[in-house]
């Protein structure tokens, strides 16, 4: 497949891996911020290509993972109502709330639909004037413009039966929480390429400077990740801490300005609770006052919910890179993708699920596997 295969080329991948080996002289700990990057790293076994000095820790950038429990509960509450068509991105349907998930609401008779774009949900609202159509607007800066567009269109059309349940989160405040923690071990970041296609990367410059960490805007294909790691390790070895752009084929310094303007019009920056981490100041987006009528929490009277996490789940520590999924006592036992305790086990982007799916094989099991299977 053109423009994709090139970024999965095994020969070039090995060349980058060799270059990283030649460059590194001591241990470094890097964090890939985004779940999609974690997914690629584990799927392609990229960390196995790296020298032992380079350790990757998985960051908090899984939109499914960080959506707080009570918001899932609110979604379940709204979706169960008989006059509602509840629309969501696919992988939110399996995220467990306190009592079930959206799939179980669907099985019990709720109308829950998977959509690829929030503007599809607007179309559904137009087609079903007798129903309340709610879109579950989650995600980072990447999904914010399309979600904002859906609300903007609904207002322009004067739709009275469309609303959004919002839990948008922002990357830079979460990075600052990790860097500001006294236990922080992360020495360099692979910033999330898709977030930066929208936002650009100027906002990372002060973070790199303040905490003296290199930040490399990185894509999602194997060669993107290997090159991003190479650039990050090179900076660390040379004692530099700059913002660099590996993902130049998609990311411009200033980002996508019309998208940013739309987001700034429809949303405002708010305090936001992150599942497993807690509340982070100024770390999310909520509807701006001008668009408050489209807030599903108000429309359905579900604000004020609170919910407690399973005490055994260490998803917060996993998402901050302080623990690996395998260090959790519930991992693979009480907590599996079929019966997830915490959200990182639910999404294919979640660190725990990525480990579970691709990683249960220990390297010592692979001894004597025969020449054709590699390993």
């Amino acid at each position: 497949m053109k423009y994709v295969e090139e970024y999965r080329d095994p020969v070039a991948a090995q060349q980058f891996a060799d270059a990283i080996k030649r460059t590194v002289t001591r241990p470094w700990k890097l964090m890939e911020v985004f779940g999609g990057q974690t997914h690629s790293i584990v799927k392609y076994g990229i960390d196995e290509l790296l020298p032992k000095e380079v350790e990757l820790v998985h960051g908090p950038g899984c939109p499914v993972c960080v959506t707080p429990l009570e918001l899932i509960d609110k979604a379940l509450q709204i979706a169960a109502q008989s006059n509602v068509i509840f629309c969501s991105f696919g992988d939110m349907l399996r995220v467990p709330g306190s009592g079930g998930d959206l799939f179980s609401v669907k099985a019990a008779g709720g109308e829950v639909r998977i959509v690829y774009s929030p503007t599809d949900a607007v179309q559904i609202a137009i087609q079903h004037p007798d129903k309340q159509v709610v879109f579950f607007a989650v995600g980072f800066e990447t999904t914010a413009p399309a979600n904002a567009m859906s609300v903007f269109q609904a207002k322009q059309m004067g739709l009275k039966n469309y609303s959004v349940l919002v839990s948008h989160v922002l990357v830079p405040p979460a990075m600052e929480v990790i860097l500001g923690s006294p236990d922080n071990h992360v020495q360099g970041f692979l910033a999330a390429g898709h977030v930066c296609t929208v936002m650009g990367y100027e906002e990372y410059v002060p973070i790199a400077k303040k905490y003296q960490v290199p930040i490399v805007v990185t894509g999602f294909e194997p060669l993107d990740l290997l090159q991003g790691i190479y650039m990050c390790v090179s900076q660390l070895e040379e004692g530099r801490y700059e913002v660099e752009n590996q993902y130049a084929r998609a990311v411009r310094k200033e980002g996508n300005l019309p998208a940013q303007q739309l987001v700034a019009k429809v949303f405002q920056v708010v305090h936001r609770k992150w599942r497993g981490i807690g509340e982070i100041a100024q770390s999310g987006l909520g509807l701006a006052p001008e668009f408050a009528e489209f807030d599903a929490e108000t429309r359905f009277g579900v604000s004020g919910y609170t919910a407690e996490e399973d005490p055994e789940c260490i998803s917060g520590l996993v998402m901050q890179g302080a623990k690996k999924p395998e260090e959790c006592t519930a991992y693979g036992k009480r907590c599996t993708p079929d019966h997830p305790l915490g959200a990182p086990m639910v999404s294919s982007e979640g660190a725990c699920a990525a480990y579970y799916r691709y990683r249960r094989l220990r390297s010592d099991d692979l001894v004597n596997v025969g020449s054709k299977s590699g390993g």
Partner: protein, 351 residues
């Protein structure tokens, strides 16, 4: 870790923590296996059922017969490359073929919803007639029920089939041996993407057609040539990954495959990139794997490549001993990872 078991045989109810049947219970993944292991297999327990094959092989009055059934509830009813009628014939014909049986006779039962257009019913029946003729099977008995409007979804079709086993091989996961080769009959994912594209209203530069086809001919040819087939599996719900995992778990052996040699058409791969799907888990309706002794690989591939439905056949991997019950894949970067069964249907990812 190889010792992690996902499910065990339990008494019938209650079914873990699900209070209602969910779509995932029919999705071909872990949830469906829980339903089988937790309720259906223990309830109807017998030796034939516990073989867990696509159909049962029966010894009746000196003859070996294969018997199978399947229900078809696909939406949309008509899609590029086929419709619910072609699926209903080919699906059951292929289940018989996977038992190594020559398909002979089918039954068909229709559950129709009041108000379903007669023209659509005619189209479905005509498809069934043509497909049955192609597959050389006869529809010899059937049933029709009509339910109130709103109590069905247009049309559901069930077919059952009987075939005759004309060889002495035991074609089953338990016959798989260490060192066997895994042969895949062609490219993956076309049926799954064709259906998904229709449902989502997506169109691509070229229309992606379902691979729906009867599979008996190439298997008959393998048998005729004396190839010692150890196991066959058509790659319907859950795709290649689920098929291999089921075999590895039943055989208590390890299967390893090579990502680089698995054929996926470029337009299918592109659609999967856009939709966030993995072609290894997509449904096929005209693809199967044959597990044969390594020494038979070349002659088996030559035979398969001589039939249109399996002209793209390739060797994708082999059977190893340990860790038992596991499928691993060598990625294109040369690293090794586990292929796990999905919990339910694949979910499109957020971004």
């Amino acid at each position: 870790m190889a010792e992690v078991k996902h499910f065990q045989l339990q008494c019938p109810a209650p079914l873990n923590d699900s209070e209602h049947v969910q779509l995932a219970h029919g999705g071909g993944g872990r949830r469906m296996h829980e339903l089988l292991e937790g309720l259906l297999l223990p309830s109807f327990k017998n030796e034939l059922l516990l073989e867990r094959h696509d159909g049962a092989t029966l010894n009746i009055a000196g003859a070996r017969l294969a018997f199978t059934t399947d229900s078809y509830v696909v939406k949309p009813l008509f899609f590029p490359g086929g419709d619910i009628g072609t699926l209903a014939i080919n699906g059951t014909v292929n289940d018989l073929a996977m038992c190594g049986a020559r398909p002979l006779y089918l039954s068909s039962a229709f559950i129709l919803e009041e108000g379903f257009p007669m023209e659509s019913l005619r189209r479905v029946v005509e498809s069934m007639r043509i497909t049955a003729a192609e597959a050389k099977v006869q529809l010899v008995t059937g049933d029709t029920k009509v339910v109130d409007k709103g109590k069905g979804d247009g049309i559901f079709v069930n077919t059952a089939g009987i075939g005759v086993v004309e060889h002495s091989l035991t074609i089953a996961p338990t016959s798989v041996r260490v060192g066997d080769a895994i042969l895949l009959s062609g490219d993956l994912g076309r049926h799954g993407v064709a259906i998904m594209a229709m449902r989502e209203g997506l169109s691509f530069e070229s229309t992606i057609e379902s691979d729906c086809a009867p599979l008996w001919e190439p298997i008959a040819a393998l048998l005729k040539a004396g190839i010692e087939i150890h196991c066959l599996r058509d790659l319907t719900r859950g795709g290649l990954s689920s098929g291999l995992i089921e075999i590895a778990e039943t055989a208590q052996l390890r299967i390893t495959i090579d990502e680089m040699v698995i054929p996926v058409r470029e337009d299918v791969a592109g659609a999967c990139e856009i939709l966030g799907l993995d072609p290894l888990y997509l449904a096929n309706e005209g693809r199967f794997i044959a597990i044969v002794p390594e020494h038979a690989t070349a002659s088996a591939l030559e035979i398969l490549n001589g039939h249109a439905v399996s002209s793209g056949a390739v060797r994708i991997g082999q059977v190893l001993e340990k860790p038992a019950g596991m499928v691993t894949m060598k990625s294109r970067l040369g690293t090794e990872r586990i292929l796990d069964m999905l919990s339910g249907e694949q979910l499109p990812r957020i971004c």
